[in-house]
Subunit: 421 residues, 2 copies
């Protein structure tokens, strides 16, 4: 773009932004929440037919069953790539399980550990960025140092990861969202998973926190497949390296789903040694409702296709509008995920905060810039997370059109200022 063209572009953006503010919008794209229509599609999970009894005759109303209902574990085992006997079904949130895994490791030695993590000087986790703010929140709450690692189109930059874990025994974990990552929508390549499983670490008790949150959340007819992390860890002599997490929060109900924890037999035993002191068993009746609603792995996949029909138009709209408004301008790039809940929008250096602020001033709430990075600090201030699932399609369209206006304005002014220097 010539300077004149740029000036003209910024002028138009200013007018468009004034018009946007005048509209007095009130739109919210901050969180990855299922829409009411998605929830409606899962209303069957409210129903319980017959007696609240397990296949083996257990009365599910009473105490017990720490490992969760075998029937619900069987439905999710294949897609979570965990043998059913190593997969536990728990409460309504996998975030709880990730938090508790960190806490249990802080206070009780994980298999292979020489000390509890609470006693490790300089305890640190690797955080592929952009990443999920709630992962980072757990680390921050417990004073675990976060080391950012860049994402590539194949997953975390494994050259960086391998170097860091080989050097520093205080690095005990890495956060991974291996399929349709939050927020890029990246699918880890088989080679990335293999290298994570095989790499040499300075500490014997390194753990991969494998948050397979979007295991079945496909938006296309060719579902992404990722390598089997538990199997690869075992094959490479690190059987206890991976903790696998998943949930039905974005399958049935976000507030009343079922969460899963899967790992090696030794890790499961360790996990249960903690949870047996904490829990009298999960809500098995809710698990039975899930069994009756989803029926089996095929039923789960069929339900996910129903949800994809609701979500895909929103993802398509985001891509279409961003292409129309920003394509070829050099002002932004964005991802076009084949699944998951998020789209990542990258703007010129130093612009993300200002874009989000401008959008907010125009009544469009976007996840705070920086949320995708440890400590809320995106060092180049470039990444904006778009969460298009919750609002209805016209609202998504209005919000993204408005967001694109903010990008044109902020990034255009930035370019202009840079050229003036």
């Amino acid at each position: 773009m010539s300077v004149d063209e740029l000036v003209g572009q910024v002028e138009r953006a200013r007018k468009d932004y004034e018009a946007l503010v005048a509209k007095g919008l009130k739109l919210d794209l901050t969180r990855g929440k299922p829409s009411p229509k998605q929830l409606d599609a899962a209303n069957g999970v409210l129903e319980l037919s017959g007696e609240p009894v397990a296949a083996d005759g257990t009365d599910l109303r009473n105490y017990g069953g720490l490992q969760g209902l075998p029937e619900v574990r069987a439905i999710f085992a294949e897609d979570l790539q965990v043998p059913v006997e190593q997969l536990l079904a728990a409460g309504n949130s996998s975030l709880e399980l990730m938090h508790d895994a960190v806490v249990f490791a802080l206070l009780g030695k994980v298999p292979g550990a020489e000390q509890r993590w609470a006693d490790v000087e300089g305890l640190a986790f690797l955080c592929p960025v952009p990443g999920y703010d709630r992962h980072f929140g757990i680390c921050e709450r417990y004073g675990i140092k976060m080391i950012a690692v860049p994402m590539t189109p194949e997953g975390p930059d494994m050259d960086v990861v391998e170097r860091l874990v080989a050097e520093d025994a205080a690095i005990k974990g890495i956060w991974c969202v291996p399929k349709y990552s939050n927020p890029d929508g990246t699918v880890y390549s088989d080679e990335t998973v293999r290298r994570l499983a095989a790499m040499e670490t300075a500490t014997p008790d390194f753990r991969i926190f494998w948050d397979n949150a979007y295991a079945v959340h496909h938006l296309t007819d060719s579902p992404a497949k990722i390598a089997d992390v538990l199997a690869l860890c075992a094959e490479n002599g690190h059987p206890d390296r991976a903790f696998v997490f998943g949930s039905s929060s974005k399958i049935t109900f976000a507030g009343a789903g079922v969460a899963f924890f899967g790992s090696s037999p030794a890790n499961i035993e360790w996990w249960l040694s903690h949870t047996v002191k904490r829990s009298i068993g999960p809500d098995k009746i809710n698990q039975l409702r899930h069994v009756q609603f989803l029926r089996d792995a095929d039923g789960l996949r069929a339900h996910m296709r129903t949800l994809a029909e609701l979500i895909r138009p929103k993802f398509d709209a985001v891509d279409k509008i961003l292409t129309a408004e920003l394509g070829g301008t050099g002002l932004a790039s964005w991802t076009a995920p084949a699944g998951g809940y998020f789209i990542s929008l990258e703007v010129p250096e130093g612009c993300a905060r200002e874009v989000v602020a401008k959008a907010k001033a125009a009544g469009i709430a976007i996840t705070p810039a920086g949320a995708t990075h440890p400590y809320g600090d995106d060092p180049t201030d470039q990444v904006i997370r778009i969460a298009p699932t919750y609002p209805e399609l016209p609202e998504v369209e209005a919000a993204i059109t408005g967001l694109a206006t903010c990008v044109r304005l902020v990034a255009g002014e930035k370019l202009l200022a840079d050229q003036a220097r």
Copy 2:
């Protein structure tokens, strides 16, 4: 009893025990579980009528609502003696909340604390005995030293408690089941509660873990009342001293109830600072089911009267049979609680383990002797916990008759051996 009478008594007990074993019973009085009939009485909680929406219009299927549904908190606030704005409704287990309170205090300073409990040298809890094994299990899992304090008919021996907490700043907590205590059925006197609230402690961050598990679990028409611990702590200048716990596990479903945490505003804020990193909110739909089933505090009390009709005959049977079999023998004493889930049976020194073992050999499973004490160690080996709620009445009768036979045998032989020395 003369030696001859004693010899005769032991002879009869031996014959009765042989006959008991020959019956090949298979009875279980180990845990405080609701019976199927109690659970049936709460089956209404399986039903959800109308839309899964809160009184304020919130869609309960989605994320959010960390504090729990206000409507369910309102039902329990009065009986738990916690202002509704300081009462949180959570998952299906108050044990989880007690565990998490310990963990959060280990890893993040409680209000008033100078350090996290994980960094306290010689960290210890007071454990009134006999007490609840699952409380002790949490301490043991996290290496918290347990100091036994004797129970009196008014609650923990406050002379001992006051002396210990005044001396030792590493004593950070005390486990209390203030109403119908597990296993004695003791109701704390107002004076005990006042002294707990008022006592001077060597540490600024002492906490009372107030497990009000049996707040509404009355067996008579004159429900026990306990003093308001939160109010007394505040009045006495220790507003943050008490953590209050409760649940509907033994009201609705043991596996699918609602648990509660109540405390001072500062403690609630501290609690939420942890749970906001852990949770996306509890299962609010299950909380709504509870609201629809229980309706209000009066509905809760009416339901408890229904349950009392089912439980009281079992407690009466235990007392009647123990009186008939052991009354006046000097071989045992036992409590006759006016509520709760347990009866405590005291046998002569050194006999409890052997009685439980003999009962087990006769097919009657009783909570392991020692479970009522820290580290499973009842130093005088005298306390046996009876949990009569789960089996049907004829089974309770058969089990207690058998247990009494074991007491007559073991305690009789013990007395005989003592006399022979």
